[in-house]
């Protein structure tokens, strides 16, 4: 029996008829050839979130971002004028990687006045101009104005820094994120600057981990042991139903109830959760900041009293989870091959004022890891069996609508890309 109302069509999925309701193929997650197309069609053409403005607090603050899927590394840096710029992380002399420490494939960050190449000492301002060439007189009519760092488009949205590697792109990130993104504008992300960031190398296609975090159908089962036995039985008996789903172009969101923060009955949770008043859903007590009472329209869109968390999936690989209790999480999935990717999970809280608040946040972060390890491991098991191709069609239920949308969207980008390269049909004159 449905606990929460569905659209008049009878299901969320049928509310978006272009999705269909049939079984889906996961060939897009196990084919090396398809992944090579995705690199160009998706990661080379869409706005990608690479960080937040708080990571660049002052002029000269920078970080690097390895983008295997797009086949490059970027440096993102704040200039003396306050502008955030991004460049391919590459010296214009003979192509050495410009900014790195010890291990050239590890990301780094810091603050500097200029970038100096380790190889021949060429120097660049943080605005990208070539400012020094070692033994410049040995070169042939070298004009330093012609050899600035190769720029990449940068845009910000609500303090999130995005890059776009498509030189022909003309869409701003605000336009790209559509009505769904616009509906989140105004949330106090800028007040939540206490950060815990996790990273994992996962042996599964990048879309499979988004799948895992874009449905809660699995939660009462895979994570059953994390609740008390009695609570666990109750949860799997109910199953999971979302409060609402919203799909908008390539992006989507699921709005969920949040019965555990705080729980109705304290016996439902672990002893340390009772003492600290925190758990998987974060601290039970909301921080005292403005902006949490009047939420932007896309957050808790059903305006439901039982609301707990909204999960936004911004295509291709960026998720934001906004929790009722006043904190948020981001997920990023950075492909490194057709069956591997780097997962980043980052928790953001209002900075704690005392030991209790600090420990509440620690418990939320530790709990996130306990769950994340189970999720990550399950994915590798899924990937290996999908690759057997013993079965090729898989049924998705109504609570898995965002998975249907994600794979359809990703396939659509690849098809559009292929069409843009298709040889035009030659119409020969009738003879």
């Amino acid at each position: 029996m449905a606990h929460f109302a569905k659209p008049s069509e009878g299901s969320w999925t049928e509310h978006y008829p272009e999705l269909g309701t049939g079984p889906v193929s996961y060939e897009d997650s196990i084919s090396p050839e398809h992944y090579e197309l995705e690199r160009k069609a998706i990661f080379g053409r869409t706005w990608l979130n690479v960080g937040r403005v708080e990571q660049l607090p002052r002029a000269g603050s920078y970080f690097t971002k390895e983008l295997d899927a797009a086949g490059t590394s970027l440096v993102v840096v704040r200039g003396p004028d306050g502008t955030i710029r991004s460049f391919h992380n590459m010296c214009r002399h003979r192509g050495n990687k410009l900014v790195w420490n010890d291990y050239s494939r590890e990301e780094t960050s810091g603050t500097c006045r200029q970038f100096t190449c380790k190889y021949h000492g060429w120097r660049y301002s943080v605005e990208g101009q070539l400012t020094f060439v070692q033994q410049q007189s040995e070169f042939f009519d070298l004009d330093t104005d012609d050899y600035g760092l190769a720029p990449v488009a940068v845009d910000t949205w609500e303090g999130f820094i995005f890059v776009n590697l498509d030189p022909e792109n003309t869409t701003s990130v605000h336009e790209y994120l559509g009505d769904l993104g616009a509906g989140v504008v105004g949330y106090p992300f800028d007040k939540m600057t206490q950060v815990y960031k996790y990273r994992a190398e996962v042996g599964a296609n990048w879309k499979l981990f988004i799948d895992a975090f874009a449905e809660f159908y699995h939660a009462p089962i895979l994570h059953a042991k994390q609740a008390t036995a009695e609570e666990s039985r109750k949860l799997s008996g109910y199953g999971f139903e979302a409060l609402a789903y919203e799909l908008d172009g390539p992006h989507g969101m699921v709005s969920s109830w949040g019965g555990m923060s705080p729980p109705k009955d304290l016996d439902m949770v672990k002893p340390i959760e009772r003492v600290l008043r925190s758990g998987l859903f974060g601290p039970w007590d909301r921080p005292e900041i403005d902006g949490l009472d009047q939420l932007p329209p896309a957050i808790n869109p059903a305006r439901h009293r039982a609301w707990g968390v909204d999960s936004f999936v911004f295509f291709p690989n960026f998720m934001i989870l906004v929790w009722q209790t006043g904190w948020y999480l981001t997920y990023h999935y950075w492909p490194t091959s057709y069956n591997t990717h780097i997962f980043e999970g980052t928790l953001y809280f209002v900075p704690p004022k005392n030991a209790r608040e600090r420990l509440q946040q620690e418990l939320a972060a530790v709990t996130f890891k306990e769950y994340g390890l189970q999720d990550a491991n399950t994915l590798e098991a899924t990937q290996t069996m999908l690759e057997s191709r013993a079965v090729s069609q898989f049924p998705l239920n109504d609570q898995e609508i965002l998975l249907r949308q994600l794979h359809k969207t990703a396939r659509g980008y690849v098809e559009d890309y292929q069409k843009s390269f298709a040889t035009p049909v030659r119409i020969s004159a009738a003879s």
């Binding site: 996790y198 340390i272 030991a355 600090r358 189970q374």
Partner: protein, 108 residues
């Protein structure tokens, strides 16, 4: 020379759990037996409220070293709570070879 504030002398035998980073705390959890985790939990859990009250005598952004060390020990208590209260083993069940590393964590 005690690591923890004088008021927490009873936790001094577990002062090796006062570790500054999540990586150290998690590694110590994995290299301990469940009995060792249980012994630490049984000693520290009843003192959690007292520890928070002690730390909160000070300005949170300017804690003396001994208060910070007490707080780190509390972070370890949080880290071992799942193994002791739920898993009954140091590792997360069904986590296989998966790992999730902390890249950034708060300074305090």
């Amino acid at each position: 020379m005690p690591i923890l504030p004088d008021e927490f002398g009873d936790l001094e035998p577990f002062a090796d759990w006062s570790l500054e980073s999540e990586a150290e705390r998690y590694a110590k959890r994995l290299s301990s037996t469940l009995d060792e985790l249980q012994a630490f939990y049984d000693a520290a859990f009843p003192r959690l409220e007292d520890a928070m009250a002690y730390v909160d005598q000070f300005e949170f952004t300017a804690l003396p070293q001994s208060a910070s060390r007490l707080l780190w020990l509390c972070y370890s208590l949080v880290n071992v709570s799942f193994p002791v209260e739920v898993w009954r083993q140091p590792r997360v069940p069904d986590s296989g070879a998966a790992s999730l590393d902390m890249l950034i964590e708060p300074a305090v």
